[in-house]
Symmetry: C2
Subunit: 142 residues, 2 copies
Amino acid sequence: MPKNCNFIEKLREVGLRPTKQRIKMCEVLYNREKTFHFTINDLVKMISEKMNEKISLATVYNTVHAFEKKGYLKEISIDSHKSYFDTNTSAHHHFFDEDTHELIDCDESDIDKINIRKNITGKKINSVEVLVRVASDNQTQK
Amino acid sequence: MPKNCNFIEKLREVGLRPTKQRIKMCEVLYNREKTFHFTINDLVKMISEKMNEKISLATVYNTVHAFEKKGYLKEISIDSHKSYFDTNTSAHHHFFDEDTHELIDCDESDIDKINIRKNITGKKINSVEVLVRVASDNQTQK
DNA sequence: TCAATAGTTTAGAATTATTATAATGTAGAT
DNA sequence: ATCTACATTATAATAATTCTAAACTATTGA
Ligand SMILES: [Mn+2]
Ligand SMILES: [Mn+2]
Ligand SMILES: [Zn+2]
Ligand SMILES: [Zn+2]
């Protein structure tokens, strides 16, 4: 359970000034056992709850994108109407619960390594990710 | 190369009135050799070119969503900032060219069937789709 | 045939998510 | 303590999508 200081250094290392907003955001994002998925709105709420002061929506957007660029966060495209972010920045697969709109990570062991036989000339593969959409069993009755 | 009449019947069958806008949209979407991917803006342009009259943007949105609901079209989530649609409504995998923002279908033979070992209690799997992001070979030089 | 009706299109307004602007504030250096 | 570059903020602007309500049209059946 690291506290502020770690984040101050982490931010410095990649050339971001450790402002109190960014430190608070780091705490909310990384001071936890497991990685998680969130939307910008989720995050604004979380930060506001942890701070007594309000944080500007623009700052959250800016900082999320700064973190994304630095590799602290990853954007996940699941739903064209909503942006999800992930504190798990490694390549990994997802389940998406279409009832609750919740994202769930897959472990390595859940899906075999995927072998791509096609290749596109002049292009290299940047990532291969699987999305498994799930929904309540009884709702799609025929 | 089917013409209008087919579409009129097709639309009637699923309970949509065969208006001239919908018939024109069917022609643009389905009167071709191969399936394809498009954005709403692409489609508006294509339809406007094929018609002498303009078509309302709202009509294109409404009709695309009506078609989607009927299973004539499928929405593809690749980029949270843009909605792509696909006239190939079967379950299939994609390559996404990050340089050109172009979507390319995978054939069955390009990727082996994916075996999911995890299961989420009370939930059934609706789809399993792979997205392979590719980009120019020389651009991601280290 | 031809109104009646239900469904459709349309222009434009409204909404939502995101990004830009420009003034103010702050961290780090000297 | 002062300076400067970078950050935050409130607010405005933009972009994508959806809503609204009036005008239009396909279908039905008298
Ligand atoms: Mn983004
Ligand atoms: Mn949609
Ligand atoms: Zn994840
Ligand atoms: Zn496709």
